[in-house]
């Protein structure tokens, strides 16, 4: 069935992520897929979505996708540009960001994230880029969306290091840690969508993308994945969503290659 799809699994992941921003007022955006999804949302379901980048640009309205969180166009199109201490203290920590969008190197069943280090057999530990803004985004955003491609190396049974907290050890742990935001509400992958169980906070498969089976998702997950009683199938990308996304990416490629 996959062969008949007119979109890629990455496109499906991006579209699903953009849809998750339909009701947000403000989104604290990381570079890469979160930025693509947030810009797609602004062009489809949520034209008033305020994009906040950790470089201090508030209300950026880039015409093409930025390649870094500090691209000139973000500053040029922003409602306000503030210093980095201010964006973290007055805006993120103060609870002014409805949604925080995080990527990850590894994720566990409570949506905790590792972006710091991965031990390897017979080799030195694999050094990852580190925390960036993620620990405080995970703490303070009204809710958190996590997007990452599905694989057993990503969705692991036990994290060797917790960089950013999802639900910690489970229900009640965010409250115990004093984390004000609701934490991860959706983990969106190229295979489907997982959401925390309302009682235990353990990630549960609630949605598969068209053409994906529950078994596929289970196999791509490094722990025995819980599955909701009723697993929905994601609405396929609309022509408009796909058109806008592809146009955005084409213009981005053109703009950035023209510049350098």
């Amino acid at each position: 069935m996959t062969d008949t799809l007119t979109w890629t699994s990455d496109e499906m992941m991006t579209v699903a992520s953009a849809r998750a921003l339909a009701d947000a007022t403000t989104c604290f955006v990381g570079i890469g897929l979160p930025s693509t999804a947030a810009n797609l949302a602004r062009r489809t379901r949520n034209p008033d979505l305020v994009l906040i980048y950790e470089s201090g640009t508030i209300g950026a309205k880039p015409d093409v996708l930025p390649l870094s969180i500090g691209d000139g166009e973000l500053a040029d199109t922003a409602d306000a540009v503030v210093a980095v201490p201010e964006i973290f203290n007055y805006w993120l920590q103060a609870g002014r960001c409805d949604v925080g969008f995080l990527g990850a190197a590894q994720v566990d069943r409570f949506a905790n994230i590792n972006t710091t280090v991965i031990p390897r057999e017979g080799q030195p530990d694999l050094r990852l880029p580190g925390a960036g803004g993620a620990p405080e985004i995970a703490a303070h955003a009204g809710k958190v969306l996590v997007t990452v491609r599905h694989s057993p190396r990503v969705f692991v049974d036990a994290l060797p290091f917790v960089t950013s907290v999802g639900f910690g050890t489970g229900a009640g742990d965010r409250e115990r840690l004093g984390l004000r935001g609701a934490g991860p509400t959706e983990v969106i992958t190229d295979l489907g969508v997982m959401a925390p169980d309302p009682r235990t906070r353990e990630l549960t498969l609630v949605e598969v993308h068209p053409g994906v089976s529950v078994e596929q998702v289970r196999e791509a997950t490094g722990w025995p994945l819980r599955v909701a009683d009723e697993v929905a199938t994601t609405e396929p990308p609309t022509d408009n969503e796909l058109g806008v996304l592809r146009d955005l990416q084409a213009r981005t490629k053109e703009a950035h290659s023209a510049r350098s």
């Binding site: 470089s55 210093a83 710091t116 050094r127 925390a131 960036g132 620990p135 004093g178 510049r259």
Partner: protein, 273 residues
């Protein structure tokens, strides 16, 4: 009052072996060419401080100038790993690299405390993160009014801060605009300050979004047009995205890296004298 001088003289006078050195610039206005001059002058045992090490620290670390890195995100933005940084941490090549690792919020507040002459800053951060247990510059304080426990981070006060700005006037007042990062804080937290600029002008005409650092908080200003490459200076240059991608290949291999540095950084010594 800032002295207007050459990059060579400024680095020779301000950056010493063993110093704590902060080259700041958040994606925008990264003082890359000042980093190259530090490499050319073969400084050693530096503690390099920077929120986002980026290519400039990958280069400096790969050339062996640093014994320690204080940072919060060490990747090649939008591209992938910093291979020289990884090689130093994973394999101690060319020399071992100690690490003090924070979140962005923590690093930004460490600079704020440094600029404010406070020994620490308070934030809501690191809760539940493994970072807190790995750094002796992360602790906690209790609010004397509410009893709530919060994170505390130690101030950063570099021996030298280095930034790149759009321009300075002949008195050494510095003007920068666009994404401003933590440069003001890094400058005000440091004992000595070097600013490279795109140009020296007669008068700093006001620009929307610009800040001015008065000459008397700056030690030296050196004209270095294009000094942020492959980062950029809004109004002067654009980001060389292709170079960020190319760096992934150049830096992946030790020999390729060494050859590239030799050809583009070490041999052109005096280019900015």
């Amino acid at each position: 009052m800032a002295e207007i001088t050459s990059l060579h003289e400024a680095v020779a006078g301000l950056v010493h072996d063993g110093d704590i050195v902060s080259l700041e610039g958040f994606t925008h206005l990264i003082p890359t060419l000042a980093g190259h001059e530090i490499v050319r002058q073969q400084r050693r045992d530096l503690t390099l401080v920077r929120m986002t090490p980026d290519l400039v620290y990958d280069q400096m670390i790969g050339m062996g100038v640093a014994r320690k890195l204080v940072f919060s995100w060490g990747g090649n933005p939008g591209v992938g790993s910093l291979h020289r940084f990884r090689d130093a941490v994973e394999n101690s090549w060319p020399v071992p690299l100690e690490v003090d690792e924070h979140s962005h919020a923590g690093m930004a507040n460490r600079y704020v405390a440094g600029a404010s002459n406070l020994p620490f800053a308070v934030l809501r951060g690191y809760q539940g993160s493994g970072l807190a247990g790995r750094s002796d510059t992360i602790s906690t304080v209790t609010c004397p009014f509410t009893g709530e426990e919060l994170a505390a981070v130690a101030a950063i006060n570099p021996d030298v801060a280095v930034i790149h700005a759009q321009r300075a006037d002949r008195a050494g007042n510095v003007q920068l605009w666009g994404i401003l990062g933590v440069q003001k804080e890094a400058v005000l937290a440091a004992k000595r300050v070097l600013v490279t600029v795109e140009e020296i002008v007669d008068a700093l005409d006001p620009v929307p979004g610009a800040i001015v650092l008065p000459s008397w908080v700056v030690t030296a200003v050196a004209p270095v047009p294009g000094g942020a490459h492959p980062s950029y200076a809004a109004g002067y240059t654009t980001r060389d995205n292709a170079f960020y991608t190319a760096w992934d290949t150049i830096s992946r291999d030790r020999d390729t890296f060494a050859r590239w540095m030799d050809e583009h950084v070490v041999e052109p010594a005096g280019a900015h004298r």
